[in-house]
Structures are given as structure tokens and as C-alpha cells.
């Protein structure tokens, strides 16, 4: 007890020396959660101070869920910093705007013939924008600034393509070509002819992804739904005007059966987490992966020598273009109650200029939000970024499917891959769930 008492006294003396630092009014404070980007942000802050004399403090609070709690608590005490990010759904974003904590950036975006606004990918800005008559009741405007973007596509290993006797610069353009490669991989694994394997079993995997995470299945399926039936029919299905038993939806579900039958899917795909899939692809064990653009960062750390490229999931139909999921990766907003609003906006303008965006992209391996700097970033990042023209996201559709229907659909896909159900059975079951939910809603 005496020992504890002495220690306590020492601690009291030490605590008295720990006082919070006092920020001057011309310091712009930024709260963020992006551990990987912290050194790059700090470097940019230094450059900005050298250029303008205004100090920018990037304060990292990770992981992201703890960061979100901090932001929510800070709202209660009105202690939000000058610039911060809002994580979560658009509903959360709208509640911050409606409570008056987020500055409307529209006037700044539209200055000089909308120069700032036009520097971004249109779809990156959409996540931060509330349009006329939005269902959240937020005044029309742009409330956030994207600092990077994200797309989810397919990637292929160029070295393995060469070993399989395929052209490493020609990824499959059609779904049939993809299946054909799947058959070739299966044949190679059975000891069939393939360069560099000398007829021996290669134990190569075709396609890997984290399909134990249902949203990834949903993402892949919706890509093909857009390609097979187009956006209008998908929206009509969500609204309950088209049933999931429609032949086009059966075609979407059949994609997974065809993939399974071709032998392209790795065994255990539906119980695989994405981290494992990333490890397999990075170590050259799999020819294809379905992954988000964050994978560039991950593969770089796991295997810097990996030779790969990104491509859109190969289309199965010429009726409609292929659409992938994408949009703003991370965004910042300006605190509407900050004393340094103008300084904060000026800093964000500078941060999203061509040179700073190119630097951020090169150093952090994230896709730039500024569409003008694609020729200044590594080719793999440019490949992922260019697909923004094909990007869509459920948050931007204006209507949402019932979560339980999405779950039934994605679990149905897993059952098809596991040979437990046929596409027709799954379609029937999903439609039953949909009808039940619609009935409940009408009550």
C-alpha cells in the first residue's frame, strides 16, 4: 500500500506536467482515421505551411469505429475540429448536415466556372452531394470533398497468364473467354499441357475473392445484373414491379453455376474472407481476383513483385454496359461552426489540386479523386480510376432493396456455388422473401 501510495504521488506530479496543447486560431485541425495516409498527410501539411504560413494539424484517430465514436461525442460537446470525415451511411451524413455541423461547399465549388467541382470525378462527388428533393430533407448542395476514390473490379496475374500460354496483355473480354480460361486452369491442375509446368499438376487456383462476406457477392452479382438487364429493370425489381423469377435474374444467378462448372472458382470460396483471397492472389496462387482498388496497397505490401492488371468483369451480354461499384473512397467536410472556415476550405482546395492528389496517390496507392491527374499516377491506379466511368453504387440508386432480400439472394448464390440449389430454386426463394417483405410493408 505504501509503495502504491508513493507511486501515486509520483504520478500526480507527472500528470500536473501534462497539459493539453493550446491551438492558435490560425491552425487548421483535421481529424481522420486513415492510418495508411498519415505520413503523406503530414508531409502535405508541411508543404502547405511552407507555402501559406498556415499550420495544418492532422490528428489520427484509428480504428475507424473508434473514430466514429469520437466524432459523435465531439458533436455533443461542440468540439468538432475545422475539418473532419463522416463515416457511415448517407443517412448519418445527412443528420450532421441538418444539425448544422457541415458547411455547404456549393458556392466554393462553383467559383471560377465551377473549376473546383469539375476537377473531380462526377461519381466521386455524388456521394457528397444532396440533390433536389432528396429523401433526407437536406438542402440541395455539395457538402463534402472527396480526397480519393474507390472502384471494385477484377484483377489478373500477368505472369500466370504467360505460364498458361495466354496473352498477358489481353484479359478476357467476354464471360465465355473467362470460363474458357477456367477450364484451362482445371486442365493444367490435372496435369494437362501448359507452358512451364511440363505437364505436371500446377495446383493453380482460378478465381479468388472474399465471398464469405456477402456484400462482395452482392457487388459481383449486381455488376452482371446491370450488364444483363440494365439499371431500369433492377430498380423495377427493387420496387417490386419485376419478380426475381424473371428470366434475366435467373441468367444472373446462372453466372455462378457456369463459373462453378468451368472449375474457375477456388474450393472454399464461400467461406473465404477477403484477406485470405488477397494473400492467395498476392502470392501468385490464383489467376483472377475480384477486389476493390484498395488491393493495390495490399498487394504492394504483400508482394511488391506481383505483376498484375485490373479489368472490368467480362460482359456476358451486349444488351447493356457492364457497371461496377465505385465512388468516393474517403471524404472530408468543413465544420460549419469553425472559426477557420475559409482557411479550411482553402486547404481542401489545395489538397485536391493536381499535384497534391498525384503525390497522395503515388505515396499511398489510393486512387486520386482529381480526374486530371491520371497520367501522373502508376498505371495500375490509372486502370482502376478509369473504370469510374462505369461506376455505380446502391447508395446512388435512390431506392434500396430490403436487407433480408439481399441476404437471401447472396446466400442463395453461395448455395449455387456449393451445388445445394439451382438458380431457379434460389430465384423462387428470393421472390418469396421479397413478397413477404412487400406484404409486411403494405400492412
Amino acid at each position: 500500500m505504501k509503495f502504491l501510495g508513493t507511486l501515486f504521488t509520483v504520478c500526480l506530479i507527472l500528470i500536473s506536467g501534462c497539459s493539453p496543447k493550446i491551438d492558435s486560431s490560425k491552425v487548421v485541425t483535421v481529424w481522420h482515421w486513415m492510418t495508411d495516409r498519415e505520413p503523406a498527410f503530414k508531409e502535405l501539411a508541411k508543404r502547405y505551411e511552407a507555402k501559406t504560413g498556415i499550420k495544418v494539424n492532422f490528428e489520427l484517430y484509428a480504428p475507424s469505429d473508434a473514430y466514429s465514436q469520437k466524432v459523435r461525442s465531439a458533436v455533443q460537446g461542440a468540439n468538432l475540429p475545422d475539418i473532419f470525415g463522416i463515416l457511415g451511411e448517407k443517412r448519418d451524413f445527412s443528420s450532421f448536415v441538418k444539425a448544422g455541423f457541415v458547411l455547404d461547399l456549393t458556392p466554393y465549388m462553383l467559383e471560377n466556372n465551377a473549376k473546383w467541382k469539375n476537377s473531380f470525378f462526377v461519381k466521386a462527388l455524388a456521394v457528397n452531394e444532396f440533390t433536389d428533393g432528396n429523401s433526407y430533407g437536406v438542402k440541395t448542395g455539395i457538402y463534402g470533398v472527396p480526397v480519393d476514390i474507390m472502384t471494385i473490379q477484377m484483377v489478373y496475374n500477368k505472369s500466370l497468364f504467360k505460364q498458361l500460354g495466354l496473352n498477358p496483355n489481353h484479359p478476357p473480354q467476354t464471360f465465355d473467354e473467362l470460363l474458357e480460361i477456367g477450364r484451362k486452369i482445371s486442365a493444367t491442375n490435372r496435369g494437362g499441357p501448359a507452358k512451364d509446368y511440363g505437364g505436371k499438376a500446377a495446383n493453380l487456383q482460378g478465381f479468388v475473392s472474399g465471398w464469405s462476406e456477402l456484400w462482395m457477392i452482392d457487388c459481383f452479382a449486381s455488376n452482371y445484373a446491370f450488364n444483363i438487364m440494365g439499371k431500369d429493370k433492377i430498380i423495377a425489381t427493387i420496387k417490386g414491379q419485376v419478380p426475381y423469377t424473371d428470366p434475366d435474374w435467373i441468367k444472373v444467378l446462372s453466372i455462378f453455376r457456369q463459373m462453378r462448372e468451368s472449375g474457375i472458382l477456388i474450393e472454399g470460396l464461400v467461406t473465404m474472407i477477403n484477406k485470405t483471397a488477397e494473400q492467395l492472389f498476392a502470392n501468385g496462387k490464383a489467376v483472377f481476383a475480384f477486389n476493390g482498388s484498395w488491393c493495390v496497397n495490399v498487394y504492394q505490401r504483400m508482394n511488391p513483385e506481383l505483376d498484375y492488371a485490373a479489368f472490368l468483369p467480362p460482359k456476358t451480354s451486349d444488351s447493356y454496359p457492364m457497371s461496377i461499384w465505385g465512388g468516393a473512397g474517403s471524404s472530408f467536410v468543413v465544420n460549419a461552426r469553425s472559426k477557420n472556415k475559409q482557411e479550411a476550405v482553402n486547404f481542401l482546395k489545395w489538397l485536391t489540386e493536381l499535384n497534391q492528389q498525384a503525390y497522395l496517390s503515388r505515396v499511398t496507392n489510393n486512387l486520386p479523386a482529381n480526374r486530371e491527374c491520371l497520367d501522373k499516377v502508376p498505371p495500375i491506379l490509372a486502370q482502376f480510376s478509369r473504370a469510374m466511368d462505369n461506376a455505380t453504387h446502391p447508395n446512388a440508386w435512390g431506392v434500396s432493396e430490403f436487407p433480408i432480400v439481399i441476404e437471401a439472394f447472396d446466400k442463395g448464390v453461395q448455395a449455387i456455388i456449393l451445388r445445394e440449389k439451382t438458380p431457379e430454386q434460389v430465384a423462387f426463394e428470393v421472390q418469396k422473401v421479397k413478397e413477404r417483405e412487400l406484404f409486411k410493408k403494405r400492412q
Partner: protein, 279 residues
């Protein structure tokens, strides 16, 4: 004893030992993996699954300490842990003694309120605590954080100590009173020495809790230089990729003080848990 009974006893003992061995391995293996991984590289951490790595990368420890302001965070966590544990031991032992031995109006209701506080999950209290500390101008101060952590550790500690004090022989108190001890004197000279095993449990449980706490610190502190050790570890966890060798090296260093505290107090802990919690 017949051969049959001897064989039966040996078989049962063997099975029990095998089971306990399996449990012990499952407990120790994560620790061994942590230490082994702290000597590997990012590439070999998943490819070389052996517990004894082929090449030992001692530099991971240097990098873990030098890359993340480790020393400052380590000192902060030490200060917070000692202060909070001291505060909890003093306040909870006094409160538990009062609940157990003194008769005053509302005693049972107050005790029930304290016990009810144990049922509230920690994150549930974060926002009210934040608002309270903000109003008291104690947010973003070490003192505010220590007070908040003391408050969070009190309920369980009072419960453990009260159960222990309830079993203290009344004769001990009477003897102390005859010798001229006041209520405070009885608490100090009789109750505290009597409750050493329970106090050991309180010290270890709370030390572990404070040492590993991060979320409340993240919410209360804006200043990086006040953050606890867990922040240094978080720096090794990227958004999409974790630097496992440095994280494991950091975790190994972080686990050491708690393991030392446990080793020093283990003789009291088993006794304390058995008598306080199991009744």
C-alpha cells in the same frame, strides 16, 4: 487396491491431464505465436508457420519502439494504470467496507445502484462521460481520464471487496475497537490486511483493464501526447493491411508489465477469486 481400480484411476488421470494439457496449449499458443511473429518479417509471418523462426529479426523491436513514440505512450499508460488502480483500491475498499459493515439509511439501494452500473456496457457511458468532462473542463486532460477510469472500475471492485468483507469475523473488529481504533482505523488496520487476496484481484483486473483501454482515451483526448500505449499499437494497424511483425513486437513489450504484475500477485489471485467471486 485392485488392478482394475488402479488401471481405472490411471486412465482417468491420464485423460484429465490430456484435457488440461490441451487447454494449456490453446492458452499458451497465441502468446507463443505473438512472440515468434515479432521476430519474423511481413512476408514470412504467414509462410513460415514454425514457432522458432528461421531468421530472427530483432530489429522489429527497435522499429516498434522508435517508429511510434512508444516511450511517451508507455510512460502515459504507466501513470494512468498506477493512478487509476490506486484510486480504485482506496475508494472501492472504503465503499465496500461501508456497505458491508456500517448501517446507514439507503445502504441496500445504493449498493444495488452500484451493482446495476456493472451491467451497463462501457461504450454506453462514453457520451455522457464526455459531456460531463467537457462541462467540468477536464476533457483532454490526464486528470479527467483518470477520474473517468476510476469511476468505470468502481462497481466491480466494490462488489468483489464487499463479498470479502461480509465474511470478515466480527470479533476482529470488536478487538480493534477495544484497542481504540476508529472506523477509519479498523478499515486500515483490520479490513485492508484481511482483504489482501481480494485486493490482489482488484489490482490485477483493473490494471489489465486500464493498461489495455483505448477507446475512452481516444474519445476524451485530442492531444496525441496524452494518449496511452494502445495508440502506438494502433499505428501498426493500417486500414487495409496490418504490419504484423511490428504489431507483435509492440504487443510483446506491452504484455510484459501485466505478466510481471500477475506473476508477483498470483498466490493471492486464486485465493481472492475463489473466495470473493465464488463465495
Amino acid at each position: 487396491m485392485s488392478i482394475y481400480h488402479k488401471a481405472k484411476k490411471t486412465t482417468i488421470n491420464t485423460l484429465i491431464h490430456l484435457f488440461l494439457l490441451a487447454v494449456a496449449i490453446t492458452c499458451i499458443y497465441p502468446l507463443l505465436w505473438m512472440v515468434a511473429s515479432s521476430f519474423k518479417t511481413q512476408e514470412t509471418i504467414f509462410s513460415d508457420i514454425s514457432i522458432i523462426p528461421r531468421h530472427l529479426h530483432f530489429e522489429n523491436y527497435y522499429l516498434a519502439v522508435s517508429n511510434s513514440d512508444f516511450g511517451r505512450y508507455f510512460l502515459n499508460s504507466t501513470i494512468y494504470t498506477v493512478s487509476v488502480v490506486f484510486g480504485i483500491v482506496v475508494v472501492s475498499s472504503m465503499a465496500a467496507y461501508a456497505f458491508s459493515r456500517l448501517r446507514f439509511p439507503g445502504r441496500n439501494i445504493l449498493f444495488i445502484i452500484f451493482i446495476a452500473a456493472m451491467m451497463i456496457p462501457m461504450p454506453g457511458g462514453f457520451v455522457p462521460l464526455y459531456v460531463l468532462l467537457n462541462k467540468l473542463h477536464l476533457r483532454d486532460t490526464a486528470f479527467g481520464y483518470i477520474l473517468a477510469m476510476i469511476s468505470m472500475g468502481l462497481a466491480t471492485s466494490i462488489f468483489i471487496l464487499k463479498t470479502f468483507f461480509d465474511k470478515m469475523p466480527k470479533e476482529l473488529e470488536d478487538a480493534a475497537r477495544i484497542d481504540g481504533c476508529s472506523k477509519l482505523g479498523i478499515w486500515w488496520h483490520v479490513a485492508i490486511p484481511f482483504a489482501k487476496p481480494a485486493l490482489a484481484v482488484v489490482v490485477v483486473f483493473n490494471a489489465l483493464n486500464v493498461w489495455n483501454e483505448y477507446v475512452l482515451a481516444l474519445i476524451i483526448f485530442d492531444s496525441k501526447n496524452l494518449m496511452p500505449l494502445q495508440r502506438a499499437l494502433m499505428m501498426f494497424r493500417g486500414e487495409f493491411l496490418t504490419n504484423y511483425p511490428l504489431l507483435m513486437a509492440g504487443l510483446t513489450i506491452t504484455a510484459l508489465p501485466i505478466i510481471i504484475v500477475y506473476i508477483f500477485m498470483q498466490k493471492y489471485i486464486v485465493k481472492g477469486v475463489a473466495s470473493s467471486v465464488l463465495g
